[in-house]
């Protein structure tokens, strides 16, 4: 198939790249742009390791055509750190053992970002429900809930400090 030139807006920057119309967003990210933070864990959108945000909504980049997200704002795990430092959710995932092998972690963090953007203070039920789009084989998920609660608290304290 002949390649086409597309323009993607990723993590606030614009990239121009030539891809086949059938190229998946995950492959464009990983292979064409070298952003290997998004992972491939399955081939049928069942594991969530490739989760990215499209205009703030968590979506699976393994089943999205790269060309279809032109004009949208794509956020990948590479765009989560804040000013070169860990975002509170990243830090708390580390501290609370939310990541073991780490392969599913980028996908989970994107899912959590999208959850917290919609719902600042989710209940554990809501967290469980949101995370069920992603699979993890190491943690049993429990330490992730603690990490998410800790991140929410850290954000709250941080915001309060800013307001003072």
């Amino acid at each position: 198939m002949k390649k086409e030139l597309i323009e993607l807006r990723i993590n606030g920057r614009t990239y121009e790249l030539a891809v086949e119309p059938s190229t998946l967003l995950l492959d464009a990210l990983r292979q064409d742009l070298g952003m290997t933070g998004s992972k491939r864990g399955c081939d049928d959108s069942s594991c969530g390791a490739c989760t990215v945000l499209i205009d703030g909504t968590a979506m699976l980049s393994c089943t999205l055509l790269a060309a279809s997200v032109q004009g949208r704002e794509v956020t990948t795990i590479e765009g989560v750190t804040e000013h070169g430092s860990l975002a509170s959710i990243q830090k708390s995932y580390g501290e609370w053992g939310g990541a073991q092998c780490g392969y599913c972690t980028p996908g989970f963090i994107m899912t959590v970002k999208s959850l917290l953007a919609e719902n600042e203070n989710p209940t554990e039920e809501e967290i469980r429900s949101a995370l069920s789009s992603n699979l993890c084989r190491c943690t049993g998920y429990l330490q992730m809930y603690q990490a998410i609660k800790a991140a929410i608290e850290a954000e709250r304290v941080g915001m309060a400090a800013v307001k003072e």
Partner: protein
């Protein structure tokens, strides 16, 4: 508090946490090299067939295809066990399961490689296949491997004590058949390997091979590559990047790891192969379907008198770890409880399915399910509480069990006590409403196999430490981080021993060029063995630093204490009393600054010519000062390097001879320098209308010796219990005609966050006399108790004892109906789950040519209709 440790015992984020949470960390598939090609493997569509011919010419002609690799490109056998070298990288004469490896296309892109696979013409002579291990054991002809009579890979027959006498003494005997169906690791990262040859500068020809691979065992991979490629080991460098989970699935050499190297040799370019999720399921090496005929006898007081187990494992098409698995299943009947008489008959049987291998709780899990279920039954028979019967059968360590296992630290009594207490067992057991129940079970696991796979006297782990003038500590370890926290454990032990901060320590791990040999991450051996090697290496370096520091501080070596980045005299009592840590440190720095100009020139202790780099202020300062009560870590290091010339240390670990087990045939598997212990209580509810089981909570106490990093320990306990729950309730590999019916993460039904229960990890510390700071394993031992704890809880809830895992709604419902003598719903194809008898195949299309059901006209096989049209 904290027993005087400054690093260990504190909840610590993993040293690689930031890499993982930012996506910056690299896993094998994240690497690419200039000119790299992609490999795709052609798999067998038949479970058992002879390869008559392979014609690759059409594939080779396709534009973009660089090479097609077949069996005769590397006609050498290998296998993880020296007794089980029965695999070729690519099939030479036969295929033995659906998914067996036939050929590999190397092309410039994945799409072209996939297209080329369809152009390879393979002529198969289909052979009768064996799917049921008990049928397979009767085979006389069309054997899966010619040299394995009756398709039996290996059988063992052990008798310890006098089992017959034991049963004669018993007041109650229970006997039943249990079946645990096949499960797989399904680690989130699909296997991936990148292989590349370097050109030798002297010969100008391809020289060294460099392999990046998702492996738990870099050194075994290096060894097997050397066998198959017929290259000396030192010409092969294996690098293990981040690994996205193993659970045993990467603890042996997986076909793609060898195929990628053979392909790179043939294509004369770097080749990367990454499995699809379906290929990961075919590569498998998971926990075999196990049939356990178990008989246990107890006295009226609950004491176990004898156990007899006949175990048949459905091993799949190749040996893999099979011989070890079947031995573990027998050996680990011992070392949990005091059992005076054991009879064990184990059969590892070959079938035409993907090979089974090692999976978390290797060998022990399925037998433990049977045993703990039966013990529950016997407790009821003798009218004893299920927790109490377990307490009646405790070992009295230090001891050597009847089957030759040495037990020293033994936290099981405390594990039982704590779970019973936390779960409210005594108050709540038997008093919950109908449909809700509590169940208890125990388990244990080795902290590393006492005997290595390749028998030799070499240490199982070796660790090097180098400290330079910058005060940075670099630890070189072959131990493989696979997410369990190996690198963090290494850094913690080194930092604790040297009294320096964790941020000073850098861990270089699992690169055969850089790191000394460590046999890998399996059998839960890393903390115990690599941890001990790290501790020994650190202590060796510490001795060098202490010698120099003592001289400089005018005191005896014994007076020194290494702590919080300082070396303190007189045990550091006066200055380090109080708060220690940063407050004391900044004080010390201040007092040094004020003393800096109080000239005391006689204080030089340097035994060697100073280096150039730090000749400036540091040296001057040092000369200006007299003997002090404290040195900073850097000062002590500089003094030591000046004094000794270099600061390096090596430590290694080999299990002591007395921990290596009995002399009987097969006695090498099962012994370990230490065992971890677990006791669990599960609370479940059962819907009697649908058969659905919900696990509400699991209380899991685990004796890990000492918790070096409590966050990691709890994470491992929770993860093990969770994975055990998956096997108990939903996970199962479903077969039809040797074809896997559910090779996807949704169909395999790994529990999501919604289905996952609350798990309360309880850490029990028995402080092992030989473990590093007393530590033992914590990553596998808890898994095995979860399945029987759930089974026993189901019995408590609704009064049915399930003999076949997983406890799916259909099995639970059938058991409930059988109990009521109701007509069977025939959901399980006539197999009564309370009395499982034989291998059960599931529905789904038969897919053999001419053998399947008649297809509807609209539903023809893919190759008979044209797809895609004019594109």
């Amino acid at each position: 508090m904290n027993n005087g440790f400054s690093i260990i015992g504190k909840p610590t984020a993993m040293v690689d946490a930031a890499e993982k949470t930012t996506g910056a960390g690299k896993y094998t598939d994240d690497f690419s090299l200039p000119g790299m090609l992609i490999g795709k493997i052609l798999h067998s569509p038949y479970p058992h067939a002879r390869l008559k011919s392979i014609d690759t010419s059409r594939a080779e002609k396709l534009d973009g295809v660089v090479a097609v690799v077949v069996g005769k490109d590397a006609p050498k056998t290998y296998g993880i066990l020296p007794v089980g070298h029965d695999e070729y990288p690519l099939a030479l004469d036969k295929v033995r399961y659906v998914g067996d490896n036939v050929a590999c296309v190397v092309a410039v892109s994945e799409a072209i490689a996939e297209k080329a696979l369809e152009l390879i013409d393979v002529d198969y002579e289909v052979l009768p296949a064996y799917f049921d291990p008990e049928e397979s054991m009767k085979a006389e002809k069309d054997l899966i491997h010619d040299h394995k009579a009756h398709n039996i890979e290996k059988d063992y027959h052990h008798a310890f004590g006098d089992p017959e006498l034991g049963f004669a003494e018993a007041d109650q005997i229970a006997e039943a058949r249990f079946i645990a169906n096949e499960v797989t690791h399904a680690a989130m990262e699909p296997h991936s390997t990148l292989a590349s040859f370097e050109i030798d500068p002297h010969t100008g020809k391809p020289g060294r091979l460099i392999v990046w691979s998702s492996t738990q065992v870099p050194y075994y991979l290096q060894h097997k590559l050397s066998l198959v490629l017929e290259m000396p080991m030192q010409q092969i460098r294996v690098i293990k990047p981040l690994v996205g989970g193993g659970f045993g699935g990467k603890s042996e050499v997986i076909p793609l790891e060898i195929i990628a190297a053979v392909a790179a040799r043939k294509a004369k370019a770097p080749v990367k192969i990454t499995y699809t999720r379906e290929e990961v399921f075919w590569a498998h090496r998971g926990r075999p379907r196990t049939i356990i005929d178990l008989k246990t006898g107890v006295k009226a007081d609950g004491r176990i008198t004898a156990v007899k187990a006949r175990v048949v494992q459905d091993g799949g098409g190749y040996c893999s770890y099979g011989v070890v698995t079947i031995l573990y299943s027998g050996a680990l009947l011992g070392a949990l409880y005091d059992i005076p008489n054991i009879q064990y008959d184990g059969y590892r049987v070959l079938t035409n399915k993907p090979a089974c291998g090692a999976m978390r709780g290797h060998g022990t899990v399925n037998v433990r399910f049977a045993f703990e279920s039966q013990l529950d039954e016997l407790a009821a028979k003798v009218g004893m509480d299920a927790a109490e019967i377990r307490q009646r059968n405790l070992l009295k360590p230090p001891c050597i069990t009847v089957n030759g296992l040495r037990v020293q630290s033994y936290g099981l009594p405390e594990c039982i006590e704590k779970t019973v207490e936390r779960s409210g067992w005594k108050q709540r057991k038997g008093k919950l409403p109908r449909g809700r129940g509590l169940g208890i079970a125990c388990s244990h696991y080795v902290s590393g196999a006492a005997n290595s796979i390749i028998r030799s006297d070499m240490p199982h782990s070796t660790v090097n430490i180098k400290i330079d003038r910058d005060g940075g500590v670099v630890v070189y370890t072959g131990a493989s981080e696979i997410g369990q926290g190996s690198d963090t454990m290494t850094a913690q032990i080194a930092a604790e021993a040297l009294g320096c901060s964790l941020s000073r320590v850098r861990v270089i791990a699992a690169d055969t060029d850089l790191t000394p040999i460590d046999i890998g991450s399996y059998s839960s051996r890393v903390t115990f063995m690599a941890g001990n090697a790290t501790l020994r290496a650190a202590n060796e370096v510490k001795k060098l630093i202490a010698a120099a520091a003592a001289k400089k501080m005018n005191c005896a070596v014994e007076e020194l204490v290494f702590r919080d980045d300082r070396v303190l005299k007189n045990g550091g009592t006066e200055k380090n009393a109080g708060e220690g840590g940063s407050a004391a440190k900044s004080q010390a720095t201040q007092s040094q600054a004020t003393q800096a100009h109080a000239a005391q020139s006689e204080a030089s202790v340097s035994g060697r010519v100073e280096g150039q780099i730090l000749r400036g202020s540091l040296q001057q300062k040092r000369k200006d000062e007299g003997p002090k009560d404290a040195l900073t870590f850097e000062e002590a290091v500089v003094a030591a390097i000046d004094f000794h010339g270099a600061l390096t240390g090596t430590g290694s670990y080999a299990p002591p001879p007395e921990a290596r087990g009995g002399k009987h045939k097969g006695g090498g598997v099962g012994p370990s320098p230490a065992y971890s212990y677990s006791a669990q209580v599960a609370e479940v509810s059962v819907d009697e209308d649908t058969g659905e089981v919900t696990v509400h909570k699991v209380w899991a106490a685990h004796d890990c010796g000492r918790a070096l990093n409590p966050v990691s320990v709890e994470g491992q306990i929770i993860g093990s219990v969770w994975m055990g729950m998956g096997q108990a309730l939903t996970e199962e590999m479903v077969w039809k005609d040797g074809m896997l019916m559910n090779p996807g993460l949704l169909e395999y039904r790994s529990p999501s966050s919604v289905e996952s229960p609350e798990i309360e990890p309880i850490i029990v510390e028995s402080i092992d006399p030989e473990g590093p700071f007393g530590a033992k394993e914590c990553s596998e031992g808890s898994l095995a108790a979860t399945i029987p704890a759930i089974a026993n809880a189901i019995y408590d809830a609704v009064g049915v004892r399930l003999h076949e895992s997983p406890f799916t709604p259909e099995r639970v419902l059938a058991a409930l109906r059988a109990k009521k003598n109701a007509k069977s719903l025939n959901l399980t194809e006539g197999v009564d789950p309370t009395q499982p008898a034989r291998f059960r195949e599931h529905g789904g299309a038969l897919w053999f040519k001419n053998k399947g059901p008649i297809r509807h006209r609209a539903d023809q096989p893919a190759n008979s209709t044209s797809i895609g049209g004019a594109d």
